[in-house]
Amino acid sequence: MDEIFFVGLVASAFRLGTPILFAALGETVAQRSGVLNVGIEGIMLVGAFTGVWGAFATGSAWIGLLIAMIAGVAMAAVHVILCLRFHLDQIVAGIGLTVLGLGLSGFGNRLVFGTGQITRTPVFERVDLGWLSRLDVIGPAFFQHHVLVYVAVALAGATWWFLTRTGWGLVIRSVGEDPVAANASGIDVIKTRTVCVLWGGALAGAGGAYLSVGQIGSFVEDMVAGRGFIAIACVVYGRWNPLGVLLATLFFGAADAAQIRLQPLFPDLPYQFFVMLPYVLAVGALVFLSRRSRLPGGLARPYAPPR
């Protein structure tokens, strides 16, 4: 493995992993509170579109990100109403959300930008970390990214600390493990879960905006291309632990970065072999890791508080 390969691989792993990491961290919090949201894909799409719209209209990538997070919260609110207010099946509601997001983002894109043209927006600046960024090999691999990459990594640590070391984290986990017992101890289960699902929506929106505003600077329909579902898988691989989720998304990003770099080196092998590599590794990892994993006790079970 030469230097160019290594630098490209690591840098690419962060770029490919970051949008998934944002969404997966939000989904981790939602799932630890007991709510499964499989509509992440749709929320990311809406975030991707509204991010571009916001950045284009205001001239600021950051305002675009903020608008994407607000739109993500609005999408998640639909999930809250369906699942927490009307106690519908969370998987069915989530699938609905995915399709809704696909339609809304595509429709919005045409209303705002029309057809046959690609809009350019301002993008996030790269951070200059002084001597760190100028290190040989290590610099370009780790310390020359968009600022959002570092935000996402820091957020993984913060989420871990919040969930395991604070009182509010304990409340969230107890609501997710056993809502009946949590309710009996005086915790407002519905309110707690609502906040967690909305936070999950905000982060999925941010993940979508990273993809569109951060990486491309424009929106195209269905651009999330399954990353929302990968994010849900990464929550499982990470065993509902934010630090595990961080490792899972970077591992997946690295596997994907590796396959696109191996393809041109072995032109005689069918390209499908490389494209499926990250997924094969992911399934393999799941088999290996699942022996010790335990999902939150109340996950995906509708809960109605006693009157």
Partner: protein, 323 residues
């Protein structure tokens, strides 16, 4: 039961068709694999049908984002609805059209970028993508400074493979020691992955890149723009996305395909065969060099012009075989 229902629907449709024969306006359906906003393969078809709508007395209907799995049901839907012409825009519509065309003898099935045909009502229009790739490769070989160029494909369907082969052969014609890197996205639409793959080829030294696909092409153009390396567009002239880095575009004239198809049906002259369009038939074209006009020498431009003339005259012997 199913056969009966199909027969019944044909009967109903035929009866309805006969009823308003007085106002015989052709109904044309265009079934697209991606969104009309992709800025390449689907946008080109969309603009083609829009132009045809103005030119002919037709009523058009467009279905977008048709997945591989929905290909057949989309064609069936329009056929049962009694459309006169159904255009499937993509290789993947070939097999489904072949399976069902005989059940709807009053409808013309036309498939783009495929080579299927069947009496009495299945025709296809294909372009010589290999020739387009050949010219693109020749230009890439002339402008590269590193001696490494790259091709990024969406999914290796026949036309993309032909373009790829042509790209490599055209490049080697003018620079035998040129290195051609190639990789596939595994999706037509994943723009972020398209960009990432392009970046990886640029890392390996490619300073001219080209791409085939849908939105994934935009990812390549974006990556080239960001890294300041040259790009050669395909299918649809997208120079305005990145005027400083797009050298030219190997245009595939889907508007000509669609115009020809509808025009022949209107004139009652369409035959159930494969129509293959190249530079000679205006099915391929090269976009103006624009900002690169001054960067290419007169000699280089003359060589490209000569190459296209040679292709037209059938003098280029190693053009990719049509699969």
């Amino acid at each position: 039961m199913k056969k009966f229902l199909i027969a019944l629907s044909i009967a109903v449709v035929t009866a309805a068709g006969a009823g308003d024969a007085a106002a015989k306006q052709l109904r044309v359906a265009l079934v697209l694999p991606g969104p009309i906003t992709d800025g390449t393969f689907n946008t080109a078809a969309y603009q083609g049908i829009k132009a045809a709508e103005k030119k002919y007395d037709i009523k058009i209907s467009i279905q977008e984002n048709t997945t591989f799995a929905q290909s057949k049901s989309a064609l069936l839907h329009f056929a049962r609805d009694g459309y006169d012409i159904i255009i499937g825009h993509g290789f993947q519509f070939g097999d489904p059209a072949k399976q069902i065309h005989k059940q709807f003898p009053k409808t013309w099935f036309i498939v783009n970028t495929a080579k299927v045909s069947g009496a009495p009502n299945l025709a296809s229009f294909d372009n010589r993508w290999g020739d387009a790739g050949y010219v693109a490769g020749a230009i890439a070989a002339m402008v590269t400074k590193t001696g490494t160029i790259g091709h990024i494909g969406g999914i290796p369907v026949p036309v993309i493979k032909e373009y790829n082969t042509g790209f490599e052969r055209g490049a080697k014609r003018f620079k035998p020691d040129v290195k051609v890197l190639s990789a596939f996205v595994g999706s037509f639409s994943d723009i972020a992955k398209g960009k990432e793959i392009t970046l990886s080829l640029i890392e390996r030294g490619a300073d001219v890149v080209t791409a085939t696909g849908n939105e994934s092409v935009v990812g390549t153009i974006q990556a080239a723009k960001e890294k300041g390396v040259m790009a050669i567009g395909t299918a649809f002239d997208s120079a305005k996305f990145a005027p400083d880095t797009i050298v030219t575009t190997a245009i595939v004239r889907f508007d000509i395909n669609i115009d020809k198809a509808i025009g022949l049906v209107v004139a009652g002259k369409l035959e159930p065969k494969n129509y293959l369009l190249g530079f000679n038939e205006n099915g391929l074209d090269l976009a103006p060099y624009r900002k690169f006009d001054s960067k290419l020498s007169a000699d280089q431009k003359a060589k490209i012009e000569q190459l296209i003339a040679d292709i037209k005259a059938g003098k280029v012997k190693d053009l990719p075989k049509i699969q």
